[in-house]
């Protein structure tokens, strides 16, 4: 099948200006000279039709560099990366807002892009009027909006305020109405930027359900988000951008893991966190042989280790604890323990042994914390997502054997524990029983 979207070494260049460092004092003569120089340069630029850049030094900046990938119909692709990795620029190029400096992209379907909720909403106009305005801006025909109007209003839950100017809406209502319009677009390619970051939790769930619906109906979706949970649950594929280049492409959970563990390796150069009672020194995961790792098989035991320092003698020992989160951001469990003698000044090492055959495959994010309890509950430090571990399922030689018994799909659930599971016959048909049937 022909890809619906082909991106072929697309690059986007911007010019940025820098102000050079001035001398310790500034003379009026220098300032005037600088201004005259700038003025002459700007005038020359303007006459030549070049872009005017503020600052003394001009530097090229490649927001995208040689980005290539293909998307097939029906794929829901998440684009992830740190701030400034080029995600939004890529979406802007694909939605025709800005043109690439080099390379080409071919879109084989009608595109609707949703880079912002409520683009073009006018505060003076009523909800009803804004639905039509926003719909038209997103590329819906008037007849189409009319047909879906009731559905949109129902989805947004703003029936009572339809004829109120949206400037009197609460921000939640505003966002709901805006997203409702967008959710009813029916393009072949939908480009979405970070719009799920709005609205309350209930509405977010509703939006995710609606987007899933979009994906299931065979539409192609490109989605940028910082919420790894929504990427993992919505997308069939993820692309990781770094410094304007594609550095990862594939299954969402492995790309997310790559993203979260890339760059600043958390076990090195850790900045000390803590208060006057205690501070975190180091935290990592290791296998039973004491080898540090981020990747484990499902059956393997995992030791999560935290080294911390108690900074003064305390009446009650502080207790270290680990919080395990899954890719959806849900807390899977929390483990804590206390050693009563660990209240003296000194450094300590806390080891939590996670048994094999408990966690499911995929990534888990472990938060390390130390809590004092001598003066009410007081937190010394919380290091969010201090360690990321990835659990890999080793495929059994025989898929028809345990634990899959022929099932090849993803194993649902936050955990995949191996419990005692017995099956015993209660009643077996005897020969006479069969005869009785």
């Amino acid at each position: 099948m022909k890809p619906i979207l082909t991106v072929d070494s697309v690059s986007k260049r911007f010019l940025v200006g820098h102000q050079t460092q001035r001398e310790s004092y500034t003379a009026l003569r220098d300032v005037l000279g600088q201004h005259v120089k700038n003025f002459v340069r700007k005038s020359a630029d303007m006459i030549a039709g070049r872009q005017i850049v503020q600052g003394d030094e001009i530097e090229e900046f490649w927001a995208l560099k040689d980005v290539s990938f293909e998307v097939h119909p029906g794929e829901v692709v998440g684009i992830i990366g740190r701030n400034g990795a080029g995600k939004s620029t890529l979406l802007r190029v694909l939605s025709r807002i800005t043109e690439p400096s080099q390379g080409r992209a071919v879109l084989r379907g009608r595109v609707a892009s949703l880079l912002e909720v409520g683009t073009g909403f006018h505060p003076e106009l009523t909800g009803r009027e804004n639905v039509f305005l926003n719909g038209a801006i997103l590329g819906m025909a008037r007849a189409e909006i009319k047909r879906k109007f009731d559905e949109i209003v129902q989805f947004a839950e703003v029936e009572r305020f339809l004829d109120t100017p949206v400037k009197r809406y609460s921000s939640g209502m505003y966002v709901r109405l805006a997203f409702a319009v967008a959710a009813h677009l029916e393009p072949e390619i939908l480009i979405v930027d970070e719009v799920l970051a709005v609205g309350d939790a209930d509405f977010q769930k509703k939006c995710i359900a609606k987007m899933k619906d979009v994906g299931d109906s065979g539409r192609t979706v490109l989605l940028v988000s910082h919420n790894m949970g929504s990427i993992a649950s919505l997308c069939t594929r993820a692309i990781l951008l770094q410094g304007g280049q594609v550095v990862g492409d594939g299954d969402p959970s492995s790309v997310i893991l790559e993203h979260l563990t890339s760059g600043t390796n958390k076990t090195q150069n850790r900045k000390l966190v803590g208060d006057e009672n205690g501070e975190l020194l180091d935290v990592w995961a290791e296998d039973p042989h004491g080898v540090r790792s981020n990747s484990f098989s499902l059956e393997s035991k995992i030791n999560v280790v935290m080294e911390y320092r108690v900074l003064r003698d305390l009446p009650v020992a502080p207790f270290p604890n680990f919080h395990f989160h899954d890719q959806q951001g849900q807390c899977v469990f929390v483990v804590a323990n206390r050693l009563d003698q660990a209240n003296k000044r000194g450094t300590y090492k806390a080891i939590c042994e996670i048994p094999g055959n408990l966690l499911n495959d995929g990534a888990y994010f472990i938060t390390a914390a130390l809590t004092c309890s001598h003066n009410g509950i007081e937190v010394c430090f919380v290091e969010r997502d201090a360690v990321t571990i990835n659990l890999v399922e080793r495929l059994a030689d025989d898929i028809h054997g345990p634990p899959r018994f022929g099932y090849a799909g993803p194993y649902p659930g936050a955990l995949r524990p191996k419990f005692e599971f017995t099956i015993e016959p209660i009643e077996l048909p005897t020969k006479s029983g069969i005869a009785a049937c």
């Binding site: 807002i97 800005t98 006018h122 038209a136 025909a141 029916e186």
Partner: protein, 285 residues
Amino acid sequence: MLKSSPPKRVSTEYELVLEAGRSEKNYWLDLWRYRELFQVLAWRDIAVRYKQTVIGVAWALVRPLLTMVVFTIIFGMVAKLPSEGDAPYALMVFAGMLPWSFFSVALSEASNSLVTNSNLISKVYFPRLIVPVATVVVAFVDFLISFAMLVIMMVWYQFVPGWQILLLPFFVLLAFLASLGPGLWITALNVKYRDFRYVIPFLVQFGLYVSPVGFSSSVIPEQWRLLYSLNPIVGVIDGFRWCLLGGESQIYLPGFFLSMVVVVIFLWLGIRKFRNMEATFADLI
């Protein structure tokens, strides 16, 4: 919830190639495809303009009326300039002010349109030409209000226009094109160099005096008239007066055609400049 219908099979019909410097082959077709957006944007501008403004419509009435009174007194009574034939001076001034205020409002609205709609430009694709053209529709509504006033004034003066009034739509179109050319040029530059927004009020004020709004262009000495017609508005205003005042006003044909040529040149320049810069609007805005 209604399950949305599956999209149509991917067809080459929609194949769209994005490339640097690629001029859109079907740009004008696209413009037609986005006509509903054009309607909606024009409707929005009008709705917002007259919403919550008590004097919204009154403002459109008061401004030309007062200007007409002042011009009639200064040029007609103090300076004692001649009118066109036997037409009352006030009518002659008003017939000139109709295209002039249409031109000046359209020009200033169009010139600022891209910057005021920057949120749209940076978030959604559509042929950008829609935005400045849609704002001209607002100026046209003001024009219609003023035109109703002119009709009332004609009744007051018991002045019957000739058959020429049937040609008025053509001159309205001419006024529209005359404002669009410079409007597009300035709006494109305004995105890049924001200083251009200061040029507009000056241009409009200056234009009011160099164009035959308060006086008839027949007071211009014969040898200068062709040169004077380089100002495209001269042709438009003369045309309006010829239409509205019927036989009382003579049209100076060489000057009129020169004005039309200038209008077309400006329009071509404006569209070309706009199209050249269109692709970079979102980066600059």
